[in-house]
């Protein structure tokens, strides 16, 4: 298991070298996190499974997608799966709003929810601390999965401004979450 920094580094190096065991171990290590990330974007268990499997398959077919310079393997995998999920969501012909998807979602008893409501409140509080313009731009990107072009059109602001707001907002919110005692 990639529990210690040394283990994580060795796993990352082997993953970068496209070692089969490293792909298997990385998946086992982060399976629930990756599935949760996909589920939280897609709101559907079957689609989330397809998304994670496809993302791993795509990485397995791309020998140089991850390099040591990228840093955290875990964060790289989270973003790969999340981007795959957002891309899928955009491709869906039906565009249900989040609330409608949640209302239509069947209860899946076999998947125990292990999230902590207090942790989710921390995210909400961190978002609330952002200036209005950054919160709007970052919220549309993170929660709605919109592209920067769509966000610029929706907020009626230049693309460059939107890029800056999202970039600044992301750094601030991560710093805020990292500094108020949270532990990933």
């Amino acid at each position: 298991m990639a529990g210690t920094p040394g283990d994580e580094e060795a796993l990352a190096v082997a993953f970068a070298a496209h070692e089969r065991w490293a792909f298997t171990r990385a998946y086992r290590e982060y399976a629930s996190l990756l599935y949760s990330v996909a589920y939280n974007v897609l709101g559907n268990g079957e689609e989330a499974q397809d998304c994670v499997a496809d993302a791993i398959a795509r990485l397995w077919r791309s020998p140089s997608a991850y390099s040591a310079q990228r840093g955290s393997l875990r964060s790289f995998l989270v973003v790969c799966v999340r981007n795959e999920a957002i891309s899928r969501r955009r491709r869906q012909s039906r565009r249900l709003r989040l609330e409608e998807r949640l209302a239509a979602m069947p209860v899946e008893h076999q998947e125990l929810e292990v999230g902590d409501p207090i942790e989710r409140d921390r995210v909400r509080r961190a978002f609330a601390k952002l200036p209005d313009d950054q919160r709007a731009a970052l919220g549309l990107a993170f929660y709605e999965g919109k592209t920067h072009t769509e966000i610029a059109a929706e907020l009626n602001a230049p693309l460059g401004t939107i890029k800056s707001r999202i970039s600044l907002g992301l750094r601030k919110i991560a710093a805020s979450l990292g500094s108020d005692g949270g532990d990933r």
Partner: protein, 214 residues
């Protein structure tokens, strides 16, 4: 920074706020630009911080089995023979050539992007050359590098599999990247911002060659 570099688009990429074409272009660039890979890596950590605090669910066993099948060596996969034979025939006739070509094309594209950047540097910039001292006679490797340490090109001949490239400094090893063989030669292009005086080729934990860069 020119248009190819990530800049503020690092955050957009990590958040999934680029469209599919922009994301694909960014992924291609990240394979050849270590500085942007680092920048995007930092944005990925930020997104991970937020995403990790959202609702967690346990990965279904079905998904785990599916991924393990995907990553398992082909010889370990079991199927009843008639069904296996039918699938195998269809696979050989229809799917295998396209998957093979797709994988070959993706690998070739990655290699060409990296080699293109390396060749451009070698053709247009003043550089020095140092040889690696290998522990095996089958291996031969050189490093070409800018005198100011702004880029390095590592070329390895005779490697049967991927080797890691490490910077040896102050009694420590910092992994820089992986030289993956395409044919008989493996090449790795490393844009850097600092001078490195000793590099090593690693096969797992074992140093197989070292080079001093005067």
């Amino acid at each position: 920074m020119n248009d190819a570099h990530a800049g503020e688009r690092a955050a957009l990429y990590a958040l999934g706020a680029l469209d599919d074409a922009e994301s694909a272009a960014m992924e291609g660039h990240l394979r050849v630009c270590a500085e942007c890979a680092k920048l995007v890596g930092e944005a990925e950590r930020d997104v991970d911080t937020i995403a990790s605090l959202e609702t967690r669910r346990r990965a279904p066993d079905e998904l785990t089995k599916r991924v393990e099948r995907l990553l398992a060596p082909a010889s370990r996969q079991r199927a009843s023979w008639p069904r296996f034979a039918a699938i195998a025939a269809a696979f050989v006739i229809g799917v295998l050539p396209s998957v093979y070509l797709w994988e070959r094309n993706a690998a070739m594209r990655d290699a060409m992007l990296s080699q293109s950047a390396a060749m451009d540097r070698l053709a247009t910039s003043e550089h020095r050359t140092a040889s690696f001292r290998p522990t095996s006679e089958a291996l031969a490797a050189n490093v070409m590098y800018a005198p100011d340490g702004s880029w390095y090109v590592i070329v390895v001949r005779g490697a049967s599999h991927a080797l890691q490239v490490a910077w040896m400094h102050d009694g420590a090893q910092t992994m820089l990247g992986v030289a993956v063989p395409h044919g008989r030669v493996a090449m790795l292009y490393l844009p850097k911002s600092h001078r490195m005086e000793q590099l090593a080729l690693m096969d797992g934990p074992r140093v197989v060659a070292e080079a001093q860069l005067p």
